[in-house]
Symmetry: C2
């Protein structure tokens, strides 16, 4: 059995995942908890770290530790100031901030990425996943750049070229869905359903995609009125609303692409995220003519491993170093 | 002093307003309460009606009573089924449903309006306000039709021609604002402000108006990132978000108009709603080149009065009867 070489942490707002990786970046062990930075138990960062990784460090005292995500935010363990886009993996390495734990271990915290502009954008954690995807799929380093989607509470779409995150967008699709379902009139006529209703979902996607409506603030009301007029059951309404919002996200992305003489139709892109959500996005992307959007597996571990290698924390072969 | 001739109720989801009108439609007395149909005190509709209007009926036993709003919905006192658009005042009269109170009075409930289609739309209460506006401003009966905006929790924009509501849109602008502010990450960096910040509001409007962004699900995130980058204070963020959402609403409306070779720029329209909110909409409309959008006062009372007159509940001169 191979030896542990790195502890890699994906420490976000609502969850913590810790990986014990070997010298090839393969996970030997994994621990997941709900101790995100906004849900820390008493004892805070240090004790949570100790409970999660202490046994690994007891057995292997010299293991290097790397972490990415909201743990490096202003509300995190220690702030790792944003690196500005365009940003490559080497810029992330240069922006790593260290924090010393009570037991004397050093945690290396990867910074997030900030894109300045009229509508600034920020990410923390996704940059590491993106570099993980690049490491595991060299076809993404195409001449005209790659487009990577990260569905979720705050969905990100990143344009990557020459190994750098050039620019990206944030869509508050997941969080807006939750707020509309749980805190507006739309939820009052909905019933949760144990199985997804694909036709209702795709009806929402198609409605958002097609011209002729005045935008998402208007189309969402049809979740209610299609119920009132007997065209959607209470169980179909959540999937319809989800399809609407994801459809509006993809329509907006498509408009950005069209200004660059590009389009989702026929495009090859990659998704990073949980399987069920990526499946929903793939179904929605197909309605926009995009049928080449596989999920990149293990992007988080691969990204943490790659950055740790570039930072010299582990002696490992580094592909596409820059 | 003139004699009471009509009791007119505006009975919505969260509030009840009762007017005692004379034969010319002038309000002699008014009572407002929070006893909307979703907030009824014990005793329900009948007792709330009695507490609100009983004294008026004790003094004038034969007064006719008319009501509009959610009181006629499936969750209301008695359901007054929707009348289909295009709908004139006479169609509303034909759709009136009566309910007898415990004391023997008859309440005449005005139906709402339904527009069928791929994205159905419904209104209850606004139809009555619109006919009130038409009654008090004959210039609205122009050849090419009138556009009337009703800002609020669910903002409505109605196209009126030849005295009929032809079609309309619903934007969940107000309710979405509340859900985003109170139930997403955007609220976490906000502080309420006692005075509106007009520049922050207009910055939001302009951002939504200008092309180059991928839609409202993306622009709302800038409420947070402009804070993170020191460009918006915590107190400015609510007004910025409000401007964004109203701006997206108007942009969507403008796109609908552009498909008909029309535009908000240079257009004459009317607003119905509370003064502060109409002021915000006027400021936003001005950024789209529309500087002729006065508020129509007393639209609710005028509409109830007009429909009561058309229904023969009161003997009154009826303008623009049809």
């Amino acid at each position: 059995m191979s030896q542990p070489a790195l502890i890699a942490l994906d420490w976000g707002t609502t969850s913590l995942r810790a990986y014990l990786l070997d010298a090839d970046g393969v996970a030997l062990d994994m621990r997941a908890s709900s101790a995100g930075i906004m849900k820390l138990p008493e004892g805070g960062f240090d004790q949570t770290f100790e409970e999660t990784c202490g046994a690994w460090l007891d057995a292997h005292t010299q293991l290097p530790v790397i972490a990415a995500g909201m743990v490096g935010s202003a509300q995190g363990w220690v702030e790792a100031p944003y690196v500005e886009a365009p940003a490559g993996a080497s810029a992330l390495v240069a922006g790593i901030v260290q924090v010393k734990t009570d037991r004397g271990a050093t945690v290396h915290i990867v910074p997030g990425v900030l894109e300045q502009g009229t509508l600034p954008n920020v990410m923390r954690g996704e940059e590491t996943q993106i570099f993980g995807a690049l490491a595991s799929d060299t076809s993404l380093e195409q001449k005209d750049g790659a487009l990577i989607g990260l569905p979720g509470t705050h969905a990100k779409w990143a344009f990557v070229r020459d190994g750098r995150i050039e620019r990206f967008y944030t869509f508050m699709t997941g969080e807006t869905f939750g707020a509309l379902r749980d805190h507006t009139i739309l939820g009052r006529t909905m019933h949760p359903s144990s199985t997804p209703d694909q036709p209702a979902f795709l009806r929402g996607v198609d409605t958002a995609r097609d011209a002729g409506h005045p935008g998402v603030l208007a189309t969402i009301f049809s979740t209610r009125t299609l119920g009132l007029t007997g065209q959607l059951t209470a169980e179909q309404q959540p999937d319809y609303l989800s399809g609407l919002l994801i459809g509006h996200e993809l329509r907006g992305l498509n408009e950005v692409l069209s200004r660059e003489q590009s389009a989702l139709a026929g495009k090859a892109l990659r998704l990073i995220g949980n399987d069920a959500l990526c499946d929903r996005y793939r179904a929605a992307l197909a309605r926009f003519g995009c049928d080449d959007a596989p999920t990149v597996a293990h992007a988080t571990e691969h990204g943490l491993y790659r950055i740790a290698a570039l930072a010299g924390l582990i002696a490992a072969p580094v592909r596409a170093a820059q």
